[in-house]
Amino acid sequence: MDDPIITARDVSIFYGDKQAIFDVDMDILPNKVTAFIGPSGCGKSTFLRAINRMNDLIPICRMDGELRIGGQDIYAPEVDVVALRVQVGMVFQKPNPFPKSIFENVAYGLRIHKLATSRSELEDRVEWSLKSAGLWDEVADRLDQSGNSLSGGQQQRLCIARAIAVEPKVILMDEPASALDPIATAVVEELIDNLRKKYTIIIVTHSMQQAARISQRTAFFHLGNLVEFGDTKTIFTNPADERTQNYITGRIG
């Protein structure tokens, strides 16, 4: 088995006095889709956001323990958070294209991180990203139109194109399909399955069926604890912990 790309050791996260995550140890394998599931307020999104230090934006949020990506302690003082977020991209629940053209939405990260040296290289990267996100054929003839002119599902794929344009190692997704209809959801799920060949994907989802469909590994969080983490196949057929069983089968816990 591959070495983990992300390792969490004794990770605790606090919002002021309130502890949201308790001593989580977790190894996340590369080129797999890992799903985080659990009831609202269980800490799964908090833990997800710790992986690209999005919680830094919340002043009262504090983290103990150690989180490494590719061996590097991402909370070490010398780490450049902006560079970290190039490596660890993020896609949110509500598609949030910039109020710019489709082209500029994807080119944005490449420009600010100076990842393209010429106009033609920039165009090539944008085209590659849109193709990887399965959106190219739908937008190739209208790249100068606003990103907001696209449908919800297209906007979400545009955000995925924007995230992968800078070639991250890891893509974090927080409920990426919960605002989409079933067809757009299926398109995004198919895309996630293709993207994992190149990236490591972690997805927070409230849809049990979605976690079962698209992930290889599933982590169940409850009251800030990582209750169970294992192969998705096992979690959804024969979970070891009664709390997991109650949650995924919709029982009163």
Binding site: T237, P239, Q245, N246, T249, G250, R251, I252
Partner: protein
């Protein structure tokens, strides 16, 4: 016992699949019992009744399958719910085969109505029948109560059925050595062996059901492990 579902109808749906499977088990048990009563009472006319029961058994088999199918489509059961939905389909399949064996054994009741070739053989067959009837009712209780200890006991009882079947074979083989020439008597012995074989197979299907009970509770395939 597991906690209730937040959606209560989910529990009702699962409960209904189980109760229909148990109902099917009771009918099949009645088929085995009636077949045995026919041999004891020399009554070959009741075959029609056993065959008629078969229609109800088949109807219940279909109903168990359809209810499971609808539950999967509507509720996407996972983990123990999924096992409690899929296992009854298999259990109902085993019950249906038991019913077929009861029917087949009942059709051979004429063996006993014309003449009883050997009291010892006859007693052995009746004993086999009463053991499988007990095994069947116990495996259904084990299924109803998710009792894997009781299911395991049922599997032990099957060894006795296998031993009795071997004993029947032995008795018939030695008996046949002395009756050559009497075609009717030879035919009678052959039918006895086939009845014994029917009951031995019934035992095996009950063992399979007990393994499904285990699978529902433990989530692992006992047959693959054994």
């Amino acid at each position: 016992m597991e906690n209730e579902h937040i959606v209560r109808r989910f529990d009702k749906n699962l409960e209904k699949i189980k109760s229909k499977t148990l109902e099917m088990g009771e009918l099949v048990g009645a088929q085995v019992r009636d077949a045995t009563a026919m041999w004891i009472n020399h009554d070959a006319d009741e075959v029609a009744r056993i065959v008629a029961l078969d229609l109800r058994v088949n109807g219940l088999h279909r109903e168990v399958y359809e209810r499971a199918e609808i539950l999967i489509a509507r509720r996407q059961p996972v983990a123990s719910d999924l096992r409690r939905t899929l296992a009854p389909i298999n259990i109902a399949g085993e019950l249906e085969r038991i019913g077929d064996h009861a029917k087949s054994a009942a059709r051979r009741a004429f063996v006993f109505s014309r003449n009883r070739p050997d009291q010892k053989l006859f007693d052995t067959i009746v004993k086999m029948s009463s053991i499988v009837q007990v095994m069947l009712s116990e495996v259904l209780i084990a299924y109803d109560h998710s009792n894997i200890g009781q299911a395991a006991e049922v599997r032990m009882q099957d060894r006795e059925i296998d031993a009795l079947h071997q004993a029947v074979l032995k008795l018939v083989i030695s008996a046949l050595a002395n009756v050559s020439g009497d075609e009717e008597l030879v035919a009678g012995y052959v039918h006895l062996v086939l009845i014994s074989r029917n009951l031995e197979r019934v035992g095996d299907h009950i063992v399979n059901i007990s393994r499904y009970v285990n699978q529902i509770v433990e989530g692992d395939d006992l047959k693959a492990r054994e």
